[in-house]
Protein backbone atom coordinates (compact mmCIF):
# COMPACT_ATOMS: atom_id res chain seq x y z
CA UNK A 1 0.00 0.00 0.00
CA UNK A 2 1.27 3.45 -0.90
CA UNK A 3 0.79 6.13 1.74
CA UNK A 4 0.70 9.73 0.54
CA UNK A 5 0.91 12.76 2.82
CA UNK A 6 -1.37 15.24 1.06
CA UNK A 7 -0.57 18.21 3.26
CA UNK A 8 1.08 20.89 1.14
CA UNK A 9 0.67 18.91 -2.10
CA UNK A 10 -1.01 20.55 -5.08
CA UNK A 11 -3.63 18.38 -6.74
CA UNK A 12 -1.48 17.94 -9.83
CA UNK A 13 1.40 16.52 -7.80
CA UNK A 14 -0.94 14.31 -5.81
CA UNK A 15 -2.55 12.84 -8.92
CA UNK A 16 0.82 12.40 -10.59
CA UNK A 17 2.06 10.37 -7.62
CA UNK A 18 -1.03 8.15 -7.85
CA UNK A 19 -0.72 7.64 -11.60
CA UNK A 20 2.98 6.93 -11.43
CA UNK A 21 2.43 4.34 -8.70
CA UNK A 22 -0.34 2.68 -10.72
CA UNK A 23 2.09 2.33 -13.63
CA UNK A 24 4.42 0.54 -11.23
CA UNK A 25 1.68 -1.88 -10.25
CA UNK A 26 0.46 -0.29 -7.02
CA UNK A 27 -3.19 -1.06 -6.28
CA UNK A 28 -3.79 0.31 -2.81
CA UNK A 29 -3.40 3.89 -1.63
CA UNK A 30 -3.88 5.81 1.55
CA UNK A 31 -3.98 9.59 1.35
CA UNK A 32 -3.51 11.35 4.69
CA UNK A 33 -4.46 14.92 5.54
CA UNK A 34 -6.35 15.89 2.39
CA UNK A 35 -7.23 19.61 2.38
CA UNK A 36 -9.34 20.18 -0.71
CA UNK A 37 -7.08 18.72 -3.43
CA UNK A 38 -9.21 18.48 -6.54
CA UNK A 39 -9.76 15.73 -9.12
CA UNK A 40 -8.36 12.91 -6.99
CA UNK A 41 -8.45 9.70 -9.07
CA UNK A 42 -10.09 11.56 -11.96
CA UNK A 43 -10.23 9.52 -15.16
CA UNK A 44 -8.53 6.47 -13.66
CA UNK A 45 -9.66 3.18 -15.20
CA UNK A 46 -7.83 0.73 -12.95
CA UNK A 47 -9.53 -1.15 -10.15
CA UNK A 48 -7.43 0.45 -7.43
CA UNK A 49 -8.45 1.19 -3.84
CA UNK A 50 -7.90 4.62 -2.30
CA UNK A 51 -8.64 5.54 1.31
CA UNK A 52 -8.59 9.29 1.93
CA UNK A 53 -8.36 10.89 5.38
CA UNK A 54 -9.38 14.55 5.51
CA UNK A 55 -11.42 16.53 3.01
CA UNK A 56 -10.74 15.78 -0.67
CA UNK A 57 -11.57 18.62 -3.05
CA UNK A 58 -14.07 19.12 -5.84
CA UNK A 59 -14.64 16.53 -8.58
CA UNK A 60 -13.35 13.59 -6.56
CA UNK A 61 -13.36 10.57 -8.91
CA UNK A 62 -14.57 12.58 -11.89
CA UNK A 63 -14.74 10.51 -15.09
CA UNK A 64 -13.35 7.51 -13.24
CA UNK A 65 -14.02 4.01 -14.44
CA UNK A 66 -13.17 1.49 -11.77
CA UNK A 67 -11.52 2.77 -8.55
CA UNK A 68 -12.90 2.10 -5.08
CA UNK A 69 -12.60 5.27 -3.00
CA UNK A 70 -13.35 5.60 0.69
CA UNK A 71 -13.25 9.02 2.37
CA UNK A 72 -12.84 9.15 6.13
CA UNK A 73 -14.28 12.66 6.42
CA UNK A 74 -16.49 14.96 4.41
CA UNK A 75 -16.63 15.42 0.64
CA UNK A 76 -16.89 18.68 -1.30
CA UNK A 77 -18.78 19.40 -4.55
CA UNK A 78 -19.00 17.38 -7.76
CA UNK A 79 -18.06 13.95 -6.36
CA UNK A 80 -18.26 11.28 -9.10
CA UNK A 81 -18.82 13.81 -11.87
CA UNK A 82 -19.52 11.75 -15.03
CA UNK A 83 -18.02 8.61 -13.49
CA UNK A 84 -18.99 5.38 -15.19
CA UNK A 85 -17.70 2.62 -12.93
CA UNK A 86 -16.34 2.12 -9.43
CA UNK A 87 -17.49 3.04 -5.96
CA UNK A 88 -17.15 6.10 -3.72
CA UNK A 89 -17.97 5.94 -0.01
CA UNK A 90 -18.07 9.11 2.09
CA UNK A 91 -17.99 8.71 5.88
CA UNK A 92 -19.51 12.14 6.45
CA UNK A 93 -21.44 14.75 4.53
CA UNK A 94 -20.99 15.92 0.95
CA UNK A 95 -21.69 19.08 -1.04
CA UNK A 96 -23.51 20.04 -4.22
CA UNK A 97 -23.84 18.33 -7.63
CA UNK A 98 -22.78 14.89 -6.35
CA UNK A 99 -22.93 12.39 -9.22
CA UNK A 100 -23.22 15.11 -11.87
CA UNK A 101 -23.94 13.33 -15.19
CA UNK A 102 -22.97 10.04 -13.56
CA UNK A 103 -23.39 7.05 -15.87
CA UNK A 104 -22.36 4.03 -13.80
CA UNK A 105 -20.95 2.89 -10.47
CA UNK A 106 -22.09 3.70 -6.93
CA UNK A 107 -21.77 6.54 -4.44
CA UNK A 108 -22.64 6.06 -0.75
CA UNK A 109 -22.81 9.09 1.54
CA UNK A 110 -23.29 8.52 5.24
CA UNK A 111 -24.84 11.89 6.15
CA UNK A 112 -26.56 14.69 4.23
CA UNK A 113 -25.82 16.11 0.78
CA UNK A 114 -26.28 19.55 -0.77
CA UNK A 115 -28.00 20.87 -3.86
CA UNK A 116 -28.51 19.31 -7.33
CA UNK A 117 -27.36 15.85 -6.35
CA UNK A 118 -27.72 13.36 -9.21
CA UNK A 119 -28.25 16.11 -11.77
CA UNK A 120 -28.52 14.51 -15.20
CA UNK A 121 -27.58 10.99 -14.14
CA UNK A 122 -28.14 8.57 -16.96
CA UNK A 123 -28.24 4.81 -17.60
CA UNK A 124 -27.48 2.75 -20.65
CA UNK A 125 -27.44 -0.99 -21.26
CA UNK A 126 -25.80 -2.56 -18.18
CA UNK A 127 -24.50 0.77 -16.83
CA UNK A 128 -26.77 2.05 -14.07
CA UNK A 129 -25.48 4.62 -11.55
CA UNK A 130 -26.66 4.55 -7.93
CA UNK A 131 -26.40 7.20 -5.19
CA UNK A 132 -27.33 6.31 -1.61
CA UNK A 133 -27.75 9.17 0.89
CA UNK A 134 -27.94 8.43 4.62
CA UNK A 135 -29.66 11.59 5.76
CA UNK A 136 -31.33 14.15 3.52
CA UNK A 137 -30.78 16.09 0.29
CA UNK A 138 -31.32 19.77 -0.45
CA UNK A 139 -33.12 21.29 -3.47
CA UNK A 140 -33.06 20.01 -7.06
CA UNK A 141 -32.34 16.37 -6.20
CA UNK A 142 -32.38 14.34 -9.45
CA UNK A 143 -32.76 17.42 -11.64
CA UNK A 144 -32.89 16.45 -15.36
CA UNK A 145 -32.30 12.87 -14.29
CA UNK A 146 -32.36 10.51 -17.25
CA UNK A 147 -31.57 7.18 -15.61
CA UNK A 148 -30.16 5.41 -12.58
CA UNK A 149 -31.23 5.34 -8.96
CA UNK A 150 -31.07 7.70 -5.98
CA UNK A 151 -31.99 6.51 -2.46
CA UNK A 152 -32.61 8.90 0.45
CA UNK A 153 -32.64 7.03 3.77
CA UNK A 154 -33.50 10.06 5.92
CA UNK A 155 -32.05 8.40 9.00
CA UNK A 156 -32.34 11.52 11.12
CA UNK A 157 -36.04 11.66 10.31
CA UNK A 158 -35.99 15.28 9.09
CA UNK A 159 -37.42 16.57 5.82
CA UNK A 160 -35.82 14.12 3.38
CA UNK A 161 -35.71 16.24 0.22
CA UNK A 162 -35.67 19.92 -0.72
CA UNK A 163 -37.65 21.83 -3.32
CA UNK A 164 -37.81 21.13 -7.08
CA UNK A 165 -36.98 17.46 -6.64
CA UNK A 166 -36.99 15.69 -10.02
CA UNK A 167 -37.45 18.88 -12.04
CA UNK A 168 -36.99 17.93 -15.70
CA UNK A 169 -36.60 14.28 -14.76
CA UNK A 170 -37.36 11.86 -17.58
CA UNK A 171 -35.74 8.59 -16.53
CA UNK A 172 -34.59 6.61 -13.51
CA UNK A 173 -36.10 6.65 -10.02
CA UNK A 174 -35.68 8.06 -6.54
CA UNK A 175 -36.65 6.16 -3.39
CA UNK A 176 -37.32 8.41 -0.42
CA UNK A 177 -37.98 7.38 3.17
CA UNK A 178 -40.60 9.49 4.95
CA UNK A 179 -43.34 11.87 3.97
CA UNK A 180 -42.98 13.95 0.83
CA UNK A 181 -44.86 17.19 0.35
CA UNK A 182 -46.15 17.29 -3.23
CA UNK A 183 -45.10 20.92 -3.60
CA UNK A 184 -41.46 19.88 -3.30
CA UNK A 185 -41.66 17.95 -6.56
CA UNK A 186 -40.97 19.13 -10.09
CA UNK A 187 -43.97 18.96 -12.38
CA UNK A 188 -42.45 16.15 -14.44
CA UNK A 189 -42.56 13.56 -11.62
CA UNK A 190 -45.09 11.75 -9.47
CA UNK A 191 -45.10 9.67 -6.28
CA UNK A 192 -45.98 6.01 -6.47
CA UNK A 193 -45.59 3.01 -4.16
CA UNK A 194 -42.65 0.68 -4.71
CA UNK A 195 -43.15 -2.51 -6.70
CA UNK A 196 -41.88 -5.82 -5.33
CA UNK A 197 -38.93 -5.58 -7.66
CA UNK A 198 -38.18 -2.05 -6.39
CA UNK A 199 -38.34 -3.28 -2.80
CA UNK A 200 -35.90 -6.11 -3.26
CA UNK A 201 -33.48 -3.78 -5.00
CA UNK A 202 -33.86 -1.19 -2.20
CA UNK A 203 -33.39 -3.84 0.51
CA UNK A 204 -30.03 -4.74 -0.99
CA UNK A 205 -28.77 -1.15 -0.93
CA UNK A 206 -30.05 -0.54 2.60
CA UNK A 207 -28.16 -3.58 3.90
CA UNK A 208 -25.08 -2.42 2.07
CA UNK A 209 -25.35 1.07 3.58
CA UNK A 210 -25.48 -0.24 7.15
CA UNK A 211 -22.67 -2.69 6.48
CA UNK A 212 -20.44 0.00 4.96
CA UNK A 213 -20.89 2.57 7.70
CA UNK A 214 -21.35 0.22 10.61
CA UNK A 215 -24.26 2.17 12.04
CA UNK A 216 -27.24 0.53 13.69
CA UNK A 217 -30.14 -0.14 11.36
CA UNK A 218 -32.78 0.90 13.86
CA UNK A 219 -36.34 0.68 12.61
CA UNK A 220 -35.88 1.39 8.91
CA UNK A 221 -38.49 -0.60 7.04
CA UNK A 222 -39.31 -0.88 3.34
CA UNK A 223 -42.90 0.28 3.86
CA UNK A 224 -41.69 3.76 4.76
CA UNK A 225 -40.32 4.41 1.27
CA UNK A 226 -41.99 6.11 -1.66
CA UNK A 227 -40.89 6.21 -5.25
CA UNK A 228 -40.45 9.36 -7.28
CA UNK A 229 -40.36 8.70 -11.00
CA UNK A 230 -41.05 10.60 -14.21
CA UNK A 231 -44.55 10.81 -15.62
CA UNK A 232 -43.13 10.50 -19.13
CA UNK A 233 -39.82 9.42 -20.60
CA UNK A 234 -40.21 11.90 -23.45
CA UNK A 235 -41.89 14.96 -21.88
CA UNK A 236 -41.19 17.11 -24.91
CA UNK A 237 -41.48 14.38 -27.55
CA UNK A 238 -44.06 16.28 -29.56
CA UNK A 239 -42.59 19.76 -29.09
CA UNK A 240 -41.03 19.98 -32.53
CA UNK A 241 -43.41 17.76 -34.47
CA UNK A 242 -45.66 20.46 -35.88
Amino acid sequence: MKIIEANGLHYRQLNEIIREAIKNGEQEFKIIGATGQRYIAAGIKNKIKIVIEGTPGNDLGAFMQGPYIEVIGNGQDGIGNTMSDGKIIIHGRAGDIIGYGMRGGEIFIRDEVGYRVGIHMKAYDNLRPVIVIGDSAKDFLGEYMAGGLIIVLNLRGTVPIGKYCGTGMHGGKIYVRGDIDEHLLGKEVSITPLSEEDESELAGYISQYFELFGVKRGNVSLEEFKKISPRSHRPYGSLYTH
Binding site: Y11, G33, A34, T35, G36, Q37, R38, G54, T55, P56, G57, N58, N74, Q76, D77, R93, G95, D96, E112, G114, Y115, R116, K138, D139, F140, H183
Partner: protein, 373 residues
Protein backbone atom coordinates in the same frame (compact mmCIF):
# COMPACT_ATOMS: atom_id res chain seq x y z
CA UNK B 1 -3.33 52.80 -13.95
CA UNK B 2 -5.13 51.66 -17.07
CA UNK B 3 -8.55 50.79 -15.82
CA UNK B 4 -9.86 49.48 -19.12
CA UNK B 5 -6.75 47.44 -19.80
CA UNK B 6 -8.27 44.00 -19.80
CA UNK B 7 -11.63 42.99 -21.16
CA UNK B 8 -13.44 39.90 -19.93
CA UNK B 9 -14.02 37.22 -22.55
CA UNK B 10 -11.72 39.08 -24.92
CA UNK B 11 -8.40 39.27 -23.14
CA UNK B 12 -8.80 36.31 -20.84
CA UNK B 13 -10.83 33.18 -20.25
CA UNK B 14 -13.70 33.64 -17.85
CA UNK B 15 -15.06 30.64 -16.00
CA UNK B 16 -16.59 32.19 -12.89
CA UNK B 17 -15.28 30.74 -9.65
CA UNK B 18 -14.05 33.27 -7.11
CA UNK B 19 -13.01 32.00 -3.70
CA UNK B 20 -14.30 33.63 -0.52
CA UNK B 21 -13.34 33.04 3.10
CA UNK B 22 -14.26 34.54 6.46
CA UNK B 23 -13.06 33.74 9.95
CA UNK B 24 -13.91 35.31 13.28
CA UNK B 25 -13.09 34.72 16.90
CA UNK B 26 -16.30 34.60 18.89
CA UNK B 27 -14.47 35.78 22.00
CA UNK B 28 -12.95 38.73 20.11
CA UNK B 29 -9.41 37.32 20.30
CA UNK B 30 -7.08 38.98 17.80
CA UNK B 31 -4.86 36.92 15.50
CA UNK B 32 -2.60 37.80 12.60
CA UNK B 33 -3.38 37.56 8.88
CA UNK B 34 -1.16 34.58 8.12
CA UNK B 35 -3.98 32.08 8.73
CA UNK B 36 -6.42 33.57 6.24
CA UNK B 37 -3.62 33.97 3.69
CA UNK B 38 -2.97 30.25 4.02
CA UNK B 39 -6.68 29.45 3.65
CA UNK B 40 -6.96 31.63 0.54
CA UNK B 41 -3.84 30.06 -0.98
CA UNK B 42 -5.56 26.69 -0.56
CA UNK B 43 -8.27 27.88 -2.98
CA UNK B 44 -5.81 29.28 -5.53
CA UNK B 45 -7.69 27.43 -8.30
CA UNK B 46 -10.67 29.70 -7.67
CA UNK B 47 -8.69 32.84 -8.62
CA UNK B 48 -6.80 33.81 -11.74
CA UNK B 49 -4.41 36.40 -10.33
CA UNK B 50 -6.54 39.35 -11.37
CA UNK B 51 -7.67 40.34 -7.91
CA UNK B 52 -7.28 39.46 -4.27
CA UNK B 53 -8.00 41.19 -1.02
CA UNK B 54 -8.70 41.09 2.68
CA UNK B 55 -10.70 42.98 5.27
CA UNK B 56 -9.49 42.94 8.86
CA UNK B 57 -11.32 44.11 12.00
CA UNK B 58 -9.58 45.16 15.18
CA UNK B 59 -6.28 46.12 13.54
CA UNK B 60 -6.08 49.77 14.65
CA UNK B 61 -6.92 49.69 18.38
CA UNK B 62 -4.74 52.77 19.04
CA UNK B 63 -6.98 54.79 16.69
CA UNK B 64 -10.26 53.00 17.37
CA UNK B 65 -12.30 56.19 17.72
CA UNK B 66 -11.15 57.53 14.32
CA UNK B 67 -12.29 56.65 10.81
CA UNK B 68 -9.50 54.78 9.05
CA UNK B 69 -9.52 55.65 5.35
CA UNK B 70 -7.56 53.38 3.01
CA UNK B 71 -6.99 55.15 -0.30
CA UNK B 72 -5.82 53.87 -3.68
CA UNK B 73 -4.38 56.58 -5.93
CA UNK B 74 -3.38 56.41 -9.57
CA UNK B 75 -1.08 59.42 -9.23
CA UNK B 76 0.04 62.36 -7.05
CA UNK B 77 -2.59 64.70 -8.50
CA UNK B 78 -5.35 62.42 -7.28
CA UNK B 79 -3.64 62.24 -3.88
CA UNK B 80 -3.30 65.99 -3.55
CA UNK B 81 -6.90 66.62 -4.59
CA UNK B 82 -8.18 63.98 -2.16
CA UNK B 83 -6.10 65.33 0.71
CA UNK B 84 -7.52 68.80 0.13
CA UNK B 85 -11.04 67.38 0.43
CA UNK B 86 -10.14 65.25 3.46
CA UNK B 87 -8.74 68.21 5.39
CA UNK B 88 -11.69 70.34 4.39
CA UNK B 89 -14.21 67.87 5.88
CA UNK B 90 -12.13 66.13 8.54
CA UNK B 91 -9.52 66.59 11.17
CA UNK B 92 -6.67 64.46 9.80
CA UNK B 93 -5.05 62.97 12.91
CA UNK B 94 -2.58 60.84 11.05
CA UNK B 95 -1.59 60.32 7.42
CA UNK B 96 0.88 57.70 6.23
CA UNK B 97 1.65 55.31 3.39
CA UNK B 98 0.21 51.82 3.84
CA UNK B 99 3.27 49.62 4.44
CA UNK B 100 3.97 47.05 1.75
CA UNK B 101 6.74 44.90 0.35
CA UNK B 102 7.11 44.03 -3.31
CA UNK B 103 6.74 40.33 -3.99
CA UNK B 104 7.91 38.05 -6.75
CA UNK B 105 4.88 38.85 -8.87
CA UNK B 106 3.69 42.20 -7.53
CA UNK B 107 6.41 44.57 -8.62
CA UNK B 108 4.38 47.70 -9.13
CA UNK B 109 1.43 49.22 -7.33
CA UNK B 110 -0.63 52.39 -7.22
CA UNK B 111 -0.09 54.84 -4.35
CA UNK B 112 -1.52 53.32 -1.19
CA UNK B 113 -2.20 55.69 1.68
CA UNK B 114 -4.14 55.65 4.91
CA UNK B 115 -5.61 58.42 7.03
CA UNK B 116 -7.08 58.46 10.51
CA UNK B 117 -9.85 61.03 10.57
CA UNK B 118 -12.45 62.65 12.74
CA UNK B 119 -15.24 64.40 10.84
CA UNK B 120 -15.62 68.20 11.04
CA UNK B 121 -19.35 68.42 10.91
CA UNK B 122 -21.01 71.83 11.13
CA UNK B 123 -23.50 72.33 13.93
CA UNK B 124 -26.33 72.95 11.45
CA UNK B 125 -25.54 69.77 9.52
CA UNK B 126 -28.37 67.37 10.42
CA UNK B 127 -26.76 64.32 8.84
CA UNK B 128 -25.56 61.56 11.14
CA UNK B 129 -21.80 61.18 11.43
CA UNK B 130 -22.00 57.97 9.39
CA UNK B 131 -24.00 59.64 6.61
CA UNK B 132 -21.43 62.44 6.60
CA UNK B 133 -18.68 59.85 6.04
CA UNK B 134 -20.69 58.03 3.35
CA UNK B 135 -21.17 61.31 1.48
CA UNK B 136 -17.45 62.02 1.75
CA UNK B 137 -16.57 58.58 0.34
CA UNK B 138 -19.03 59.07 -2.52
CA UNK B 139 -17.61 62.52 -3.20
CA UNK B 140 -14.03 61.25 -3.49
CA UNK B 141 -14.93 58.23 -5.61
CA UNK B 142 -17.12 60.27 -7.93
CA UNK B 143 -15.24 63.54 -8.25
CA UNK B 144 -11.57 62.75 -8.14
CA UNK B 145 -10.28 60.80 -11.12
CA UNK B 146 -7.82 58.16 -10.02
CA UNK B 147 -8.71 58.20 -6.32
CA UNK B 148 -10.64 55.42 -4.63
CA UNK B 149 -11.59 54.83 -1.04
CA UNK B 150 -10.95 51.16 -0.35
CA UNK B 151 -12.26 51.31 3.20
CA UNK B 152 -13.67 53.89 5.58
CA UNK B 153 -14.54 52.17 8.87
CA UNK B 154 -13.23 52.41 12.39
CA UNK B 155 -10.58 50.03 13.67
CA UNK B 156 -10.70 48.07 10.40
CA UNK B 157 -9.16 48.21 6.97
CA UNK B 158 -9.37 46.69 3.50
CA UNK B 159 -6.20 45.62 1.69
CA UNK B 160 -6.67 44.66 -1.93
CA UNK B 161 -5.12 44.70 -5.36
CA UNK B 162 -4.39 42.86 -8.58
CA UNK B 163 -2.70 39.54 -7.88
CA UNK B 164 -3.45 36.22 -6.24
CA UNK B 165 -4.80 36.71 -2.69
CA UNK B 166 -1.79 35.11 -1.02
CA UNK B 167 0.47 37.52 -2.94
CA UNK B 168 -1.69 40.49 -1.96
CA UNK B 169 -1.54 39.33 1.67
CA UNK B 170 2.24 39.13 1.49
CA UNK B 171 2.45 42.46 -0.33
CA UNK B 172 0.47 44.25 2.41
CA UNK B 173 2.41 42.42 5.21
CA UNK B 174 -0.83 41.18 6.73
CA UNK B 175 1.08 38.83 9.00
CA UNK B 176 1.99 42.01 10.93
CA UNK B 177 -1.64 42.94 11.72
CA UNK B 178 -3.88 41.42 14.32
CA UNK B 179 -7.64 41.34 13.92
CA UNK B 180 -10.59 39.41 15.39
CA UNK B 181 -12.42 39.08 12.05
CA UNK B 182 -10.75 38.48 8.69
CA UNK B 183 -12.53 38.29 5.33
CA UNK B 184 -10.71 37.23 2.16
CA UNK B 185 -11.31 37.07 -1.55
CA UNK B 186 -9.61 35.57 -4.59
CA UNK B 187 -10.93 36.96 -7.79
CA UNK B 188 -11.79 35.36 -11.11
CA UNK B 189 -13.28 38.39 -12.85
CA UNK B 190 -15.99 37.75 -15.37
CA UNK B 191 -18.10 40.79 -16.07
CA UNK B 192 -15.81 43.55 -14.94
CA UNK B 193 -12.32 44.84 -15.49
CA UNK B 194 -9.33 44.02 -13.30
CA UNK B 195 -7.84 46.97 -11.40
CA UNK B 196 -6.75 47.59 -7.83
CA UNK B 197 -9.89 49.39 -6.73
CA UNK B 198 -12.11 46.76 -8.34
CA UNK B 199 -10.71 43.91 -6.26
CA UNK B 200 -12.72 42.68 -3.27
CA UNK B 201 -13.58 43.26 -0.46
CA UNK B 202 -15.73 46.30 -1.06
CA UNK B 203 -16.16 48.49 1.93
CA UNK B 204 -18.17 51.37 3.26
CA UNK B 205 -18.00 52.47 6.90
CA UNK B 206 -17.52 49.25 8.89
CA UNK B 207 -19.00 47.03 6.18
CA UNK B 208 -16.91 44.81 3.97
CA UNK B 209 -18.26 42.49 1.31
CA UNK B 210 -16.67 39.65 -0.64
CA UNK B 211 -18.60 37.99 -3.40
CA UNK B 212 -18.45 35.01 -5.73
CA UNK B 213 -20.87 35.24 -8.60
CA UNK B 214 -22.56 37.90 -10.61
CA UNK B 215 -25.48 40.18 -9.96
CA UNK B 216 -27.94 40.23 -12.83
CA UNK B 217 -30.13 42.76 -10.99
CA UNK B 218 -27.22 45.25 -10.92
CA UNK B 219 -29.02 47.83 -13.07
CA UNK B 220 -32.14 47.92 -10.89
CA UNK B 221 -30.14 47.82 -7.63
CA UNK B 222 -27.87 50.60 -8.84
CA UNK B 223 -30.80 52.87 -9.72
CA UNK B 224 -32.43 52.19 -6.37
CA UNK B 225 -29.19 52.98 -4.53
CA UNK B 226 -28.65 56.11 -6.56
CA UNK B 227 -32.07 57.36 -5.47
CA UNK B 228 -30.91 56.75 -1.88
CA UNK B 229 -27.64 58.66 -2.13
CA UNK B 230 -25.21 55.89 -3.10
CA UNK B 231 -23.24 56.31 -6.32
CA UNK B 232 -21.84 53.14 -7.88
CA UNK B 233 -18.52 54.18 -9.35
CA UNK B 234 -16.30 51.14 -9.09
CA UNK B 235 -17.30 49.20 -12.25
CA UNK B 236 -18.04 46.06 -10.26
CA UNK B 237 -21.40 44.59 -9.37
CA UNK B 238 -20.37 43.65 -5.81
CA UNK B 239 -20.38 47.30 -4.86
CA UNK B 240 -24.19 47.28 -4.75
CA UNK B 241 -24.25 44.67 -1.99
CA UNK B 242 -22.07 46.79 0.31
CA UNK B 243 -24.37 49.78 -0.21
CA UNK B 244 -27.58 47.74 0.12
CA UNK B 245 -26.37 46.34 3.45
CA UNK B 246 -25.54 49.86 4.67
CA UNK B 247 -28.93 51.18 3.57
CA UNK B 248 -30.97 48.30 4.98
CA UNK B 249 -29.13 47.60 8.24
CA UNK B 250 -27.65 50.94 9.29
CA UNK B 251 -30.16 53.42 7.88
CA UNK B 252 -33.38 51.38 7.83
CA UNK B 253 -32.41 49.45 10.97
CA UNK B 254 -33.46 46.04 9.63
CA UNK B 255 -32.09 43.08 11.57
CA UNK B 256 -29.59 41.01 9.55
CA UNK B 257 -32.12 38.20 9.17
CA UNK B 258 -34.60 40.52 7.46
CA UNK B 259 -31.89 42.19 5.39
CA UNK B 260 -31.06 38.71 4.03
CA UNK B 261 -34.74 38.24 3.17
CA UNK B 262 -34.76 41.52 1.24
CA UNK B 263 -31.74 40.42 -0.81
CA UNK B 264 -33.04 36.83 -1.13
CA UNK B 265 -36.82 36.93 -0.73
CA UNK B 266 -38.84 33.72 -0.67
CA UNK B 267 -40.56 32.98 -3.99
CA UNK B 268 -44.22 34.02 -4.20
CA UNK B 269 -45.36 30.39 -4.24
CA UNK B 270 -43.47 29.85 -0.98
CA UNK B 271 -45.06 32.92 0.57
CA UNK B 272 -48.47 31.51 -0.32
CA UNK B 273 -47.78 28.45 1.81
CA UNK B 274 -46.65 30.42 4.87
CA UNK B 275 -48.78 31.09 7.96
CA UNK B 276 -50.60 34.42 7.59
CA UNK B 277 -48.39 36.59 9.77
CA UNK B 278 -45.18 35.37 8.16
CA UNK B 279 -46.70 35.62 4.68
CA UNK B 280 -47.68 39.23 5.30
CA UNK B 281 -44.21 40.13 6.49
CA UNK B 282 -42.55 38.67 3.41
CA UNK B 283 -45.18 40.09 1.08
CA UNK B 284 -44.55 43.56 2.51
CA UNK B 285 -40.80 43.17 2.32
CA UNK B 286 -41.02 42.13 -1.32
CA UNK B 287 -43.23 45.09 -2.15
CA UNK B 288 -41.30 47.75 -0.21
CA UNK B 289 -37.89 46.48 -1.28
CA UNK B 290 -38.56 45.05 -4.76
CA UNK B 291 -35.62 47.00 -6.17
CA UNK B 292 -33.24 45.71 -3.50
CA UNK B 293 -33.77 42.07 -4.50
CA UNK B 294 -30.45 40.63 -5.68
CA UNK B 295 -30.74 38.24 -8.58
CA UNK B 296 -28.21 35.95 -10.17
CA UNK B 297 -25.80 33.37 -8.80
CA UNK B 298 -23.91 34.52 -5.71
CA UNK B 299 -22.29 33.63 -2.43
CA UNK B 300 -21.26 36.52 -0.19
CA UNK B 301 -19.60 37.14 3.14
CA UNK B 302 -20.30 40.44 4.85
CA UNK B 303 -18.00 41.61 7.62
CA UNK B 304 -18.94 44.23 10.22
CA UNK B 305 -17.50 45.51 13.45
CA UNK B 306 -18.95 42.83 15.69
CA UNK B 307 -19.57 39.91 13.37
CA UNK B 308 -19.87 38.40 9.93
CA UNK B 309 -22.63 37.00 7.76
CA UNK B 310 -22.64 34.44 4.93
CA UNK B 311 -25.39 34.11 2.33
CA UNK B 312 -26.01 32.45 -1.04
CA UNK B 313 -28.61 33.12 -3.70
CA UNK B 314 -31.95 31.38 -3.29
CA UNK B 315 -31.26 28.46 -5.59
CA UNK B 316 -27.67 27.92 -4.47
CA UNK B 317 -25.74 28.59 -7.64
CA UNK B 318 -22.47 29.22 -5.75
CA UNK B 319 -20.85 27.15 -3.00
CA UNK B 320 -20.67 28.10 0.67
CA UNK B 321 -19.83 26.04 3.71
CA UNK B 322 -19.65 27.00 7.37
CA UNK B 323 -17.77 25.44 10.28
CA UNK B 324 -16.97 26.10 13.90
CA UNK B 325 -14.51 25.03 16.53
CA UNK B 326 -14.43 26.12 20.16
CA UNK B 327 -13.86 29.81 19.49
CA UNK B 328 -13.94 30.33 15.72
CA UNK B 329 -16.59 30.59 13.06
CA UNK B 330 -15.46 29.94 9.49
CA UNK B 331 -17.34 30.58 6.25
CA UNK B 332 -15.74 29.44 3.01
CA UNK B 333 -16.27 28.48 -0.62
CA UNK B 334 -14.65 25.14 0.18
CA UNK B 335 -14.25 23.01 3.30
CA UNK B 336 -10.69 22.13 2.30
CA UNK B 337 -9.58 25.73 2.90
CA UNK B 338 -10.93 25.60 6.45
CA UNK B 339 -9.24 22.24 7.11
CA UNK B 340 -6.01 23.74 5.83
CA UNK B 341 -5.84 25.97 8.89
CA UNK B 342 -7.98 23.99 11.33
CA UNK B 343 -8.13 20.22 10.72
CA UNK B 344 -10.23 19.55 13.80
CA UNK B 345 -13.65 21.18 13.67
CA UNK B 346 -16.61 20.80 15.97
CA UNK B 347 -19.23 21.17 13.26
CA UNK B 348 -19.29 21.63 9.48
CA UNK B 349 -22.49 22.48 7.69
CA UNK B 350 -23.86 23.80 4.46
CA UNK B 351 -26.01 26.88 4.95
CA UNK B 352 -29.44 26.62 3.34
CA UNK B 353 -29.73 28.66 0.14
CA UNK B 354 -31.01 32.17 0.81
CA UNK B 355 -30.69 31.77 4.60
CA UNK B 356 -27.97 33.74 6.36
CA UNK B 357 -25.30 32.34 8.65
CA UNK B 358 -24.69 35.03 11.25
CA UNK B 359 -21.79 35.07 13.67
CA UNK B 360 -21.57 37.74 16.34
CA UNK B 361 -18.79 38.49 18.78
CA UNK B 362 -19.91 37.28 22.17
CA UNK B 363 -22.84 35.24 20.84
CA UNK B 364 -23.15 31.66 22.00
CA UNK B 365 -24.57 30.17 18.81
CA UNK B 366 -23.93 30.74 15.12
CA UNK B 367 -27.18 29.29 13.90
CA UNK B 368 -29.57 31.44 11.92
CA UNK B 369 -31.52 33.48 14.39
CA UNK B 370 -35.26 33.51 14.22
CA UNK B 371 -36.57 36.70 12.75
CA UNK B 372 -40.18 36.30 13.74
CA UNK B 373 -40.89 36.24 17.42
Amino acid sequence: MEREKQVADKDYRVPSACGIFGMMSRSGRRFDGSLIIKAMANMRERSNGLGGGFAAYGIYPQYSSLYAFHLIYDNDVAKNETEKILSLYCQVEKSEPIPFRYTKRITSAPLLWRYFLSPKKNADDDRTEEDFIVDLVMLINRKIPGAFVASSGKNMGIFKGVGYPEEIGEFFRLDEYEGYIWIGHGRFPTNSVAWWGGAHPFGLLDWSVVHNGEISSYGINRRYLSANGYECTLFTDTEVIAYLVDLLVRRHQLPFELMAKVLCPPLWEEIERMPQEEAELHQNLRIVYSEALVNGPFAIIVGFKDGMLGLTDRIKLRPLVAAEDEDMLYISSEEGAIREIQPSLKRVWMPTAGEPVIGKIGATSYATEHYIS
